[in-house]
Symmetry: none
Subunit: 538 residues, 2 copies
């Protein structure tokens, strides 16, 4: 049977404390996961979670997947209700995905104490729901909640749930270590016992591990070594409590250590980029020490063995870092090297290989900016503007030049909170002063800038600020620290992300806003004029 | 043979990028590790690293260990030099520790290409150095560098190094996965092969794993299951690249999952305290998602199953969190009902069960606030203030009342960016107007408020803004959307998190800042006066 790499970043991974994706975030994460070549993307629980319903609705027109199959997640029918009449099951069908994952109780204690129904009714719920969805043309996966704990408590019942699911037509039955307490040797023993007891072919089983013993990746590999051919995980191991199994480490280990090519050719090297971009979208600082993809994961203190490392890097690295898109770092420098910048530029359709001088300038500029806290990993539009500003034929034209701005926020005696901004700019030789109010300082500034530019660039009205993220950079102290702002803008059928960094959140936002407008107007083919720098990062 | 829990936080763990301990730090970390009951503490490389020489000198008088044996780390003698004349070996003796660990090359390629000596001379270096130190009355451990890679490349040579070390009197030979590329099944196979080949009893072997495949903990457990009775690790897994095996997860798994009581009675429950204190000393934010010890590692989104969790917490936790000194936390999320609010309040030491009316009011208030975008999931301090404001005996006193504030951000013509804030408040009947500048609008506002309160509340100077997070709430539109701010404040030996929500980021920050000061002053026992509402969430 085919090996299945099944991602649940957008469903189980979203249970991580403090994490919250917008629908636009979810679409962006799905595209990144597809770039990595995962086989399945579990997008959420339609019907139960309004945002997820909306995600699946928009996915139909806005998400074109090259590798992955989209999966809607839900539960078996309610106890005592016909499956056809269960609105939750209806919600799964309405999502219109080719595949559905159903969570089923696989631990008798949870059936009795949490679900409060009988052992037999729970089995009927599994059978009915699977059969119904299969009859409706869906591929069905069944996640056995608390499989391992249940199997330890009452192996016969848990085995019966697995058999019921597969007999009713489920493609795979997924062994879920829901509480995350397993060790690899225990996983091996449980799977062998389950297979011996039921005769289920291990290829029809899947593995879903949580990291409560710090063994989630190893538990998943143990399952694969026991014959399982479906692995679930999340990007960067995000998830509830200590998290889920990190899909990136699983996949890299399978490909590079066990020789199982589970991703399409050429996809593995996307891993670092995908990992970091998802971290940015999740607004979680990338873990610099994460296996395979962390910025420090192939970093060596040079010292005595520098020359030995240079001659024989594989004596000091467990794999070639390039195969996952990472770099070996010898000195304590910031990350971006020429090779990755060239690669990234090529991705954006810009040929830096033919312009070695420009490549050097861009590399130098990126290193300098990264040392100051900039990050282009999730801000392709800002990166493109930066690269193009070094390429003679492609330099972006800045739509205006800033003279000054001023933003005021007042909490008045009557309790009203007001924000007002004034910008003084030069547009096509004309000096413009514009003032606007907003819901907050950045909104007021954005509005004032739009008012100032409206006459010359009417197409600006189409652009909408879709998301705005602020991060205080690591190692810093509170509101006095360096601030990184990401602005996502949507308009004219596309969306793009820009970045700004400054100790002052308003100034950081200004950088990102100006880049956003510059990029958007450029792509919209607006007739720009060279009015000078609009204070983008370049 | 005795099971040995061997900590290398202060030696190998200190290789983590960006980490640097002072001698005082090292002494403090050693005391904490001893509290946890580890058997051995590897303190550093005396002679080679001046700070480590100093650490061992001071340890003689300043470090009284109840459980652990102090170990000096170093290398085998230089090639072509008599062991008695090797100053590096002399340095190890001068450290005056009961035990010494020696790193020995166990991969022939490294002998030839990095050490640049012969296979035979390397074996002689191992024999000579071990025998000499044993003769000087030291317990000796030998770390076989690159054991696994070497064993794969040339098993006979690596086996010869292990045999030489043990024959010369080493207590244990430690299998080091120096490049960190192993998987558990490979560890098992290699140990079985080595044991079969040499007849070495597995109890005389140790395991040292690095986390490059995200399997360091599992690799260590695999070694123990293969008979190894000495495990090395570091606090919180600190170390080079992705880090070392996390000693805490190893020990918790051994005790709680494999039934091996490797720590002295009563020590395991020190784990959370020791973990967080070492993170504090290392100046690394504790990983909230770390297995066993993370603040989120036993956190549950309550919702539907709150009552089931209350009755049967062990159905939802893989172990009782109290055994490692952790707590179960119930997250107050969107689905928060009465049960989870009562549970959460009890966690904070507030009895709402005895005040059903207050419980109703709090539940209503939380629902209303959450509908408006508030979230108390990560803001226990704000939640506590809210609950207490409904409990007659516990209502927090607000330190001041706001009249108005004003914040100005200017990007001037000369490029300078300035922020200035003015607050008008009433403190203990006095009207105070205060102005301050800051790096950004929120910092300026925070500074102005502190200036205004300084005379009445000098203890405010101890509070520091440790982290500041901004999130634009989902389903919203760009800078015009609702903003949620989380402020983490540290001071007087604790830290607390508060939340503010408003369309205006400055006003949202104001809410969180005021809650932070209110909570901090309350806990510091400052004499507050009832000046009215300071505009916290309640």
């Amino acid at each position: 049977m085919t090996f299945q790499v099944y991602d649940t970043t957008l469903r189980d991974g979203a249970q991580r404390e403090g994490l919250s994706y917008s629908v636009v975030d979810k679409l962006a994460v799905a595209r990144l996961l597809d770039d990595l070549g995962v086989g399945f993307i579990e997008g959420g629980w339609p019907g139960a979670v309004p945002k997820d319903t909306e995600f699946f609705r928009r996915a139909r027109t806005e998400l074109t997947l090259r590798h992955a199959v989209l999966v809607a997640f839900g539960a078996t029918r309610k106890a005592g209700r016909a499956v056809e009449d269960d609105p939750q099951v209806r919600g799964l069908l309405d999502a219109g995905t080719p595949a559905v994952a159903l969570v089923a109780k696989a631990d008798l204690r949870h059936v009795e104490r949490a679900l409060r129904t009988t052992a037999e009714e729970n089995l009927a719920m599994v059978r009915d729901t699977v059969a119904y969805l299969v009859a409706q043309g869906r591929r069905v996966f069944v996640d056995g909640e608390h499989t391992f704990d249940g199997f330890r408590h009452d192996p016969g019942y848990t085995a019966a749930v697995a058999q019921a699911a597969l007999a009713a037509g489920a493609e795979r039955f997924v062994l879920c270590d829901t509480n995350g307490g397993m060790l690899p040797s225990q996983v091996t023993a449980a799977i062998e016992d389950l297979v011996a007891r039921t005769g289920i072919a291990p290829e029809r089983l899947g593995m879903h591990a949580q990291n409560d013993t710090a063994c989630a990746v190893a538990n998943t590999l143990a399952a694969v070594e026991a014959g399982v051919r479906h692995v679930q995980g999340t990007a960067n191991g995000y998830g509830e409590r200590p998290g889920n199994a990190d899909l990136f480490a699983i996949v890299a280990n399978l490909q590079l250590k066990l020789g199982m090519p589970v991703l399409p050719e050429g996809c593995l090297e996307q891993m670092v980029r995908v990992s970091h971009a998802i971290a940015e979208i999740a607004n979680i600082a990338p873990d610099t020490h994460q296996a395979y993809v962390g910025a420090a994961s192939f970093a060596h203190k040079a010292g005595l063995h520098a020359s030995a490392i240079k001659v024989d890097p594989l004596l000091y690295n467990h794999v070639d870092p390039a195969v996952v898109g990472n770099d070996m770092r010898i000195l304590v420098t910031e990350m971006a090297g020429r090779a990755s910048i060239e690669l990234k530029s090529r991705e954006l359709g810009l040929d830096l290989a033919g312009h070695p001088d420009a490549l050097s300038r861009v590399t130098g500029r990126v290193k300098e900016l990264e040392a100051g806290g900039w990050s282009f990993e999730a801000a392709d539009a800002s990166f493109e503007l930066l690269v193009r500003s070094e390429l003679p034929d492609a330099a972006p034209v800045r739509p205006f030049a800033l003279e000054s701005y001023r933003v005021l926020v007042e909490h008045r005696e009557d309790g009203a909170v007001v924000s007002e901004a004034t910008v003084k700019i030069r547009v096509r030789g004309e000096r413009v002063i514009a003032t606007a109010e907003g819901n907050g300082p950045v909104n007021a500034l954005d509005e004032a800038l739009r008012v100032g530019l409206a006459r010359h660039y009417p197409e600006l009205r189409e652009f909408e600020l879709a998301d705005y993220k602020v991060r205080i950079l690591e190692g810093s102290h509170g509101t006095g620290a360096v601030t990184r702002v990401l602005v996502e803008t949507a308009g004219a059928g596309r969306d793009w992300t820009t970045v700004g960094v400054h100790p002052n959140v308003v100034e950081a936002s200004w950088h990102a806003l100006v880049d956003a407008l510059t990029y958007g107007l450029d792509k919209a083919g607006a007739p720009l004029n060279a009015a000078g720098s609009g204070r983008g990062p370049a």
